[in-house]
Structures are given as structure tokens and as C-alpha cells.
Amino acid sequence: MLPTFILILRIHLVNMAYYFIRWIVFWLLLIVASAVYADKSQPLHTVAGTPRAPEFSLKDINGKLFRLADYKGKVVIVNFWTTWCPPCRFELPSMERAYQLFKKQDIEILAINVGEDVDTIFTFTVDYPVSFPLLMDLDSKVINDYPVIGLPTTYVIDTEGRLVYRAIGTREWDDSRLVEKILELKK
């Protein structure tokens, strides 16, 4: 009788240990999966005090004048970039994909090139075609008016003309969580 009881108890304990290990492994995998997912997040950071976006008027590579004031009431993404800055180049394709989504929502993207001439930018667009305006800040006055100290830097301006979000470095602009965060500014 006793050996049978010990055998049943042993089987029971082994089963319990097995299920316990499975439970631990499940939660560890869940933690790892969350960490990997979080690593791929594309954060936009809130700008302290949400100051008013400095006004500007700049020409694009076709000579057309763009004024920030003309976008009053719209969400505007302002990106500062150069052709020789590798991370600036990395994010342009995703920014173009995002632009295709955003333009249906009346959200604008203005990419301000710092200090380069028409020919340089035009040649660059052969390899990096984009359909949003490429504006030229030839004397770097506009970038100096904005709180920018490294390239690329991107600001998101809300419908009231305030700087609400900032990204330093590349982002995947068509990432669904990032797109959602920008679309929320329209509500």
C-alpha cells in the first residue's frame, strides 16, 4: 500500500514541477517578447511647455514660397535634414510613406534642408524621391530659430501652432503607433 502511495505522490510531484517550469518559461518568454516589442517602438517625445512654433517662409527647390502661417489649423511635421546626413536619408522613405497616409488626413510634412543648394537637393531626389515639399534654409536662420542642435531633428506642430512632439534621430514615420499619436492631434 505504502509503495503505491509513494509512487503516486512522486508522479504527482513530477507533474507539478513540470507545470511549474512551463509556467515560469511562459512568463519569461512574455517578458522577453515585451522587451523586444518595446525596443522597436518609435517614440515621439513631448516638448516641455509646448512653445509656439517659430514662423518661417522658405522657398522649395522649385522656387515656390511656403509660409508656416499658411498651415494654421493643421497638424504640421517639420523635419530638418541635409543630403549628407546618413540618418536623415534613412528616414526619408518612411516619411514619404507616412505622407501618403497623412495627406488624406490633411496633415502636412515640410522637410527643411539646411544650407544646401538647389542642384545638390535636386540630384539627391533622384535616389530619394519624395512628394512633400523640400524647403531650403540656405543661411540656416530657420534652424537656428528652432530648438535644434543636431540633425535630423523633427518637430510635430499641433493645430494651434505649438511644438508638441520632438524626435532627435531617425524614426520609422509610418509605424502604426507613431501615426496614431500624430492622428490624435487632430481630435
Binding site: Y18, I21, G150, I168
Partner: protein
């Protein structure tokens, strides 16, 4: 072995594979060295759970070509090329799950060279030189934005990519003492035996040979 046991052992191996490197990084940080995949040149990288700083050699010839293409005279491009320039990627690698804020000021960093502690040559120091040399405005703009910011504050996943200059002759070795604030706490680290790129002129037929 029962297939379920194999499954559990496999899962444990996967977990260890992910968790051990993370645990190692969360300690005091470490230095990685090797050949940068993109540049095919040596790199030195310091990284912990929140910050990574990668310095990739730039050949003086690359620097000459880059700045002459941006309008610098041959003479001025030569001055930059002889100043030990590194391509630099400074990143806040922390995640939303464990966010950190990284702040630095390059003026606090030290170049340890032949028993002396020297400052980096920051964009402000260069700017004074270019103004004295009457360099064109467009040239100065290109130069200043191509350098890593002297001071910066990075939130999770923020980063800059630019050049840093150490004001040493090509081929010289030095140690770099880093200083930064991580979540308000002052941290320091030293990367040893960094080597300025030698002033070689690669054979176009065999650039890496």
C-alpha cells in the same frame, strides 16, 4: 527525450540567450571593437543598458573629399583631415519599458594622450577658426552641422550621427574619458587605445587591401 521536455529546454535556452546579454549590459557597460560594417574601418563602442557611443575611424582622405565637396578650400580641408576625425553615433538605447535620459557636454571629455589630458576640438572652437579664416558662410554651416552637438539631451531612442575631432595627428593612439549624466547621475568611462586613422591613400583597384 519526450518532445514536451525538448520544448521546455528549447524555451529555456531562448530565454537565456535574450536575458544574459541584457544582464551583462545592465552592469557597468562594456567596450566593443571591430570593423564597422558600413565604413569597413575600425570602430570603438562603449555601451550600457541606456547609452551607446560608437566611434568609427574616418580616413583623412574621406574627410578631405567630404569637406572639399561642401566648398572648403584644399588648405582648410587639409586642416580638418589632419585633426583625427571620427564618425560618431551617440544614442540613447533605453526603451519605453525602462526609459533613461542621457545628457552630455563634450567639453567635459578628456583625450588622454602621452600623459596629458586634452580637450576635444568642439564646433565652437572650430567656428572661431573659420571666422578668423573668413571661410564662406555656406561652408561654415555645412561644417558646424556635420559635427556632433557639443551638448545634447537624449530621451529614449534619440540619437545623433556626426563627427567628433580629437586634434591629434593621423595614426596616433589615445584613451578617451567620457562623462555623461544618466537620469541625473554623473557617470564616467574610459575607452582605451583608440587609434586615429592613418593618412593612407587607398588603391582604387583594391581599397581595403
Amino acid at each position: 527525450m519526450h518532445y514536451q521536455n525538448r520544448l521546455v529546454i528549447g524555451a529555456v535556452v531562448i530565454v537565456i540567450h535574450f536575458l544574459l546579454p541584457a544582464a551583462a549590459l545592465s552592469a557597468e557597460g562594456r567596450v566593443l571593437t571591430g570593423t564597422d560594417d558600413d565604413a569597413q574601418l575600425p570602430f570603438w563602442e562603449w555601451r550600457n543598458e541606456a547609452m551607446s557611443l560608437r566611434l568609427v575611424q574616418r580616413l583623412p582622405d574621406q574627410t578631405r573629399a567630404f569637406f572639399m565637396a561642401r566648398g572648403f578650400s584644399k588648405e582648410h580641408a587639409e586642416i580638418i583631415a589632419q585633426s583625427c576625425i571620427f564618425q560618431t553615433v551617440y544614442k540613447n538605447v533605453s526603451t519605453a519599458a525602462r526609459p533613461s535620459v542621457i545628457e552630455y557636454d563634450l567639453r567635459q571629455w578628456k583625450v588622454l594622450y602621452k600623459g596629458k589630458a586634452l580637450p576635444l576640438k568642439t564646433k565652437e572652437v572650430w567656428q572661431v577658426e573659420w571666422e578668423k579664416a573668413n571661410a564662406a558662410q555656406a561652408v561654415q554651416i555645412a561644417f558646424l552641422w556635420s559635427l556632433i552637438p557639443t551638448q545634447q539631451r537624449y530621451q529614449p531612442q534619440d540619437y545623433n550621427w556626426g563627427m567628433t575631432s580629437y586634434n591629434l595627428p593621423p595614426g596616433e593612439k589615445f584613451d578617451l574619458q567620457l562623462v555623461w549624466q544618466q537620469d541625473g547621475e554623473r557617470r564616467t568611462a574610459t575607452i582605451q587605445d583608440i587609434e586615429c586613422a592613418p593618412d593612407i591613400h587607398p588603391d582604387p583597384e583594391n581599397p581595403f587591401g
